[in-house]
């Protein structure tokens, strides 16, 4: 498989490390303090950390260009064909996710 790194261009998969679902952000800040987080927040964090969909078809995921520019890349990949549909810097993708 080959991934087009937004910084380095198309590179072989062996340069990358896979993390997982790129639509999940596993840390929401704002509940720090002396008290325990509300149960709903713990449940949401549990789901974000442990539960994963395994879709056939397009899947948004995060790859780390470990043996390249060290940038995290937001990749849309077809899990059935391994076709890479799109890539962009994860930092840029974050802005959209926040909206």
């Amino acid at each position: 498989m080959r991934i087009t790194c937004p910084h380095c261009g198309q590179r072989d998969i062996s340069e990358f490390t896979y993390l997982g679902d790129g639509s999940i952000r596993t840390l929401a800040l704002g509940f720090g303090g002396p008290d325990a987080p509300p149960d709903a927040e713990i449940d949401a964090a549990h789901d974000a950390v442990f539960l994963r969909d395994n879709p056939r078809g397009h899947h948004r995921e995060l790859w780390y260009h470990a043996l390249g520019c060290r940038q995290w890349v937001d990749v849309v990949r077809n899990t059935a064909t391994h076709d890479v549909i799109s890539t962009r810097a994860a930092a840029a993708a974050h802005v959209e996710l926040e909206r």
Partner: protein, 1011 residues
């Protein structure tokens, strides 16, 4: 070439003869004789021969014994699809089993032996398996050796293992080297036959960057084996012209002896180049094989087609050969498979063998065609031999191989023909394997009775016979057009030039799979479907009877197609027989999946240069060479080599060296290379906010010029890593990680910065390799460090307090050093960081400056003892199963902010009061000892898992206390100091009494290290 009149003209009387060598023609160099041995016998052949063609020329028909029944076998094919003629090639460390004689390029001095024969090929004792054949029917290993179970390990398995198997692997390390290379192109052409050459020519002329891979040592494929004229000349001449033209094109690379073995995602292909397999051994510095990884935009699959056999009784005897292979031996190698050849075919192409053999002066015993007379009238014209419209019911054979065939004609008459060779053609299977590697699903085409590529991705372009296009002229046109299209697809729309021309021969076929036994009277012989795994028609019938009918069940139950040839000849036959038994069409029966690699590959080729010491990188600290000179022993810590102890004169065990080093630190001063710790610079206006979010404790409150111990949690709330954080300036933090997690923490900080909080103004840079860092510890550490820094700074208790940080310009032209007053040993201690190139000088300077203080270097063993004595947690405690609370570090869980892992650390189970928590252990009888991994049990009660109360994580002999001490985790630990427990080690079978105590065995108040 081909000028010498007879094969024996240069051979002396004592030389072995080549009785089956034809007097002229062939793509062999008769001026260059080559000597080789097969089963210890001397043979002679020519440059340009394969081992198989050389054996054919020498009249050797029996070349191996079969896998299961040890039946005599000969050479069936002339290509990489060969299932029978498998030999062990070379000797000693270079011995390679399962080598196909048909692909071995002959070299002078080659030595090969036959496989699966004991004690010899001619007198094989294991052929008694044929008598016991019912035991070895389909699925025998599921049925036969099941009971009694006790016999399995002692009797069945050893006997089966010694009797079965395909050859013997070398038992010594591979002496050869291998290399890997990447290549990029626009168009990859797989296969250098007429189709592939035409495609390479047209795509190359159009301007595309083309790589042509051909698995043969002589490019040309069937153009070398057939007698068709191409562009009005012989095929071999056209090949030469084509190769010359390609050689002149700078955008074209031709790789002979290179098999494309796999198709991967993103247009990536693997190909194995046999660089030196045609030499006795590789030249110095030359790899034996080279693994290519080729990235291309389009791939022309010109892999041709593979002729398939027909199933009939005793169809495996030496002398039975594929019709196209017989033509290859006659036309390309000028070697006839026999002096009298019969042909058995169901299609027009088989007749070409009769014509070519007759043209070469070989006698034709008969041509037997399964089709009716009206279908063969045209193609039979000019054949000077009996023509029978009927079937071969059985071969007749002696110990050497075929002596004749029994034939039944359509009119019911029976015939026998004497012959020494039977050429068989059951039609052609397009070689679709590569089109399936990415889940292509071949489709059945009734008109050519074969599967053709389908469902593959659009960047694969099958052409010629691989696409079901038969006939020399048609293949050349298909190759040319596909090359033009591939080039155009990749942006090269230049002219493809002239299309090579050849006539289109007839290629009609009527599907015919097996000679039914019900009609053939008196035919008891085995009828083989898969020659390599000895799968017979009866095995397939049995699989059907027992319900293993789907393609995948059929394959696994009978092992059809599971041998090293991957069923290239047998798969479609097996499917056809099963479809017939089920009364369904072959299209409905479907095919099995083809997976990489297409051809067997040496493990060495996959490993490339990554073997032995080069299997992974080795990281050396800046003072490594110095440590070697100090007689250090080294331990692998990830990729690093770390000094574990330094042996001095008179020390005979590591415990002596380690004990001395510990005492040196406790009583004088020692220093330890800690350069392997991960080091990360965190810089920017938001550096403090950033670190507050990734560490559980506060870092924004850390004053400039101070250090703080920091704890990171995983997102699931467990402890991840620890280290120290120094604030060098308002916006510059210097973070250290454990050696093991250095890379992962860096990746995590990159993740946090880029993915979680890209809005923070902070940058993160690894500087592990930039700094040599040494820990200096002991009562004399301050004196030594003060000598080191001279007047540059004050490291007194007041000048640089515990957990302080400063920088110092080292005297005498030394570098700017960073000084951290942190302690892992419990002593007064400093870590000094200098640019990596000064690592060795720092060690030398410390040794020189501290000689009167008794200074000595210490290794990781002493480091570990010192930290256990002090009660510091390390890798064995940060084991992925412990929370901050478990490690008595709950105070580092800040309540003033959020941080990674905080939320899930509140899950009830992670805060359960009776979780195993950090304690110390010491044996009640201090002469006793125990080991890490032992479990803790209350003083009374059964030693059962239900009563398990915790476990021991770190154990050492404390030279300071004179007995064993340990750290571990036990339920309600802090409440149980002073309690007597049992330390039970079921693995080593020991149980001893120990006392639970505080984890701090040395300086529990910390007064010493703060002093």
């Amino acid at each position: 070439m081909g000028l010498l009149g007879t094969s024996t003209s240069f051979v002396g009387a004592s030389e072995p003869a080549q009785p089956n060598r034809l007097p002229s023609a062939g793509q062999i160099n008769r001026a260059r004789p080559v000597r080789f041995t097969f089963d210890g016998r001397q043979h002679i052949a020519y440059e340009g021969d394969t081992l198989a063609s050389a054996l054919v020329a020498s009249g050797t028909r029996l070349v191996s014994r079969s896998f299961k029944y040890h039946r005599p076998r000969g050479i069936l094919t002339a290509g990489p699809e060969e299932p029978s003629a498998l030999v062990e090639l070379r000797n000693g460390a270079r011995r390679e089993p399962n080598t196909r004689a048909t692909t071995i390029e002959l070299y002078d001095g080659l030595s090969a032996v036959s496989q699966n024969a004991w004690p010899s090929l001619r007198y094989d004792l294991m052929s008694v398996n044929q008598v016991a054949a019912p035991l070895f029917a389909a699925g025998f290993y599921y049925k036969t050796f099941m009971w009694p179970a006790a016999l399995w390990e002692k009797l069945y398995e050893p006997v089966i293992r010694s009797a079965a198997g395909l050859g013997r692997a070398a038992s010594e390390p591979d002496p050869d080297t291998y290399e890997k290379v990447w290549a990029h192109c626009d168009v990859l052409v797989v296969g250098g036959g007429p189709t592939g050459l035409a495609a390479t020519l047209s795509a190359g002329r159009a301007g595309a960057r083309v790589i042509l891979c051909d698995d043969d040592f002589r490019t040309g494929g069937r153009a070398l084996s057939e007698t068709h004229a191409i562009n009005e000349g012989v095929g071999a001449a056209w090949v030469e012209t084509a190769l010359d033209e390609l050689d002149a094109l700078s955008n074209v690379t031709v790789l002979p002896r290179t098999s494309v073995t796999g198709v991967y995602d993103g247009g990536t292909y693997s190909a194995l180049e046999r660089v030196a397999d045609h030499l006795p051994s590789p030249a110095p510095g030359q790899p034996r094989q080279r693994l290519w990884r080729i990235v291309t935009k389009r791939a022309v699959i010109a892999t041709g087609a593979i002729e398939r056999p027909i199933v009939f009784a005793d169809n495996d005897r030496p002398g039975v050969m594929m019709a196209s292979a017989a033509r290859t031996y006659i036309n390309r190698f000028a070697a006839t498979p026999g002096e009298r050849i019969a042909v058995f075919t169901n299609n027009d192409d088989g007749w070409q063998t009769a014509r070519d053999a007759a043209a070469a002066g070989v006698r034709i015993a008969a041509v037997i065609d399964t089709r009716p007379a009206e279908a063969t009238r045209d193609v039979a014209r000019g054949i000077d031999a009996p023509v029978i419209n009927g079937v071969v019911t059985r071969t007749d054979a002696n110990a050497h191989g075929v002596t004749g065939v029994f034939v039944r004609a359509d009119d019911g008459s029976s015939h026998t023909f004497a012959c020494t060779s039977l050429a068989v053609s059951g039609g052609w299977n397009p070689n679709v394997a590569l089109t399936c590697h990415k889940r292509g699903k071949p489709e059945w085409r009734e008109d050519i009775a074969a599967f053709v590529p389908a469902g593959h991705s659009a960047d694969l372009l099958p052409a010629g016979a691989a696409a079901g296009v038969y006939g020399m002229g048609a293949c050349l046109r298909s190759g040319h057009e596909t090359g033009v299209r591939a080039a155009a697809d990749t942006g090269f729309s230049g002219s493809g030039g002239a299309i090579p021309r050849a006539d289109d021969e007839a290629a009609r076929i009527t599907a015919f799979w097996h000679v039914s036994t019900s009609k053939a009277s008196g035919t008891k012989g085995k009828a083989f479907v898969d020659h390599q795994h000895d799968v017979t028609r009866e095995d397939i019938a049995l699989a059907h009877l027992e319900g293993f009918r789907s393609v995948e069940h059929l394959k696994r139950y009978t092992t059809l197609g599971m041998a090293t040839d991957q069923g290239r000849l047998s798969n479609v036959l097996g499917l056809a027989l099963m479809a017939e038994a089920r009364g369904i069409s072959i299209a409905e029966q479907g095919t099995t999946m083809f997976r990489p690699p297409y051809a067997p590959m040496a493990i060495g080729a996959l490993a490339g240069a990554h073997r032995d010491a080069s299997s992974k990188p080795t990281r050396l600290t800046p003072s490594h060479d110095w440590a070697v000179e100090q007689n250090a022993s080294f331990v692998d810590a990830g990729l690093w080599k770390r000094a574990e102890w330094y042996t001095r004169a008179g020390e005979t065990t590591w415990r002596q060296s380690c004990g001395r080093e510990v005492r040196t630190v406790r009583e004088a001063v020692g220093f330890c290379d800690v350069s392997t710790l991960g080091k990360i610079d965190v810089v920017g206006p938001d550096a403090a906010v950033f670190l507050d979010r990734v560490y559980s404790n506060l870092m924004s409150t850390l004053p400039v010029g101070k250090c703080r111990y920091g704890l990171m949690l995983r997102e699931d709330g467990f402890v991840y890593d620890d280290g120290t954080v120094a604030r060098l300036s308002e916006q510059h933090y210097f973070v250290t990680t454990t050696t093991a997690n250095a890379g992962l923490v860096m990746q995590r900080l990159d993740f946090a910065r880029q993915v979680l909080w890209p809005d923070l103004a902070v940058n993160v840079t690894s500087s592990t390799d930039q700094w040599a860092q040494v820990s200096i510890a002991g009562p004399q550490a301050r004196t030594l460090v003060q000598r080191l820094v001279g007047d540059a700074c004050d490291v007194s208790a007041d000048g640089l307090a515990f957990m302080g940080q400063t920088t110092a310009q080292l005297p005498d032209g030394g570098p700017l050093a960073r000084i951290y007053r942190i302690s892992f040993s419990g002593e007064v201690a400093f870590e000094v960081g200098v640019p990596a190139r000064f690592g060795r000088a720092l060690c030398e300077r410390l040794t020189a400056l501290g000689s009167d203080l008794g200074v000595a270097p210490y290794g990781t063993e002493a480091l570990n003892v010192l930290r256990i004595e002090k009660g510091h947690v390390s890798g064995p405690e940060l084991n992925g199963m412990t929370t901050a609370g478990d490690l008595c570090l709950g105070g580092l869980m800040s309540k003033r902010k959020d941080f990674i892992g905080r939320t899930l650390s509140y899950r009830p189970a992670l805060r359960a009061p009776d979780r195993p928590t950090l304690v110390g252990f010491k044996p009640c009888d201090t002469s006793e000892t125990f080991q890490a991994g032992a479990h803790a049990f209350a003083a009374a009660g059964d030693l059962t898992p239900a009563n398990d109360e915790g476990y021991v994580t770190s154990v050492c002999h404390s030279p300071t206390l004179g007995h064993t001490i340990a750290l571990g985790l036990v339920r309600n630990g802090p409440d149980r100091h002073g309690e007597r427990v049992r330390i039970h080690d079921p693995l080593r079978g020991s149980t001893i009494d120990a006392e639970v105590c505080a984890p701090h065995f040395y300086d529990p108040t910390g007064a010493i290290q703060r002093g």
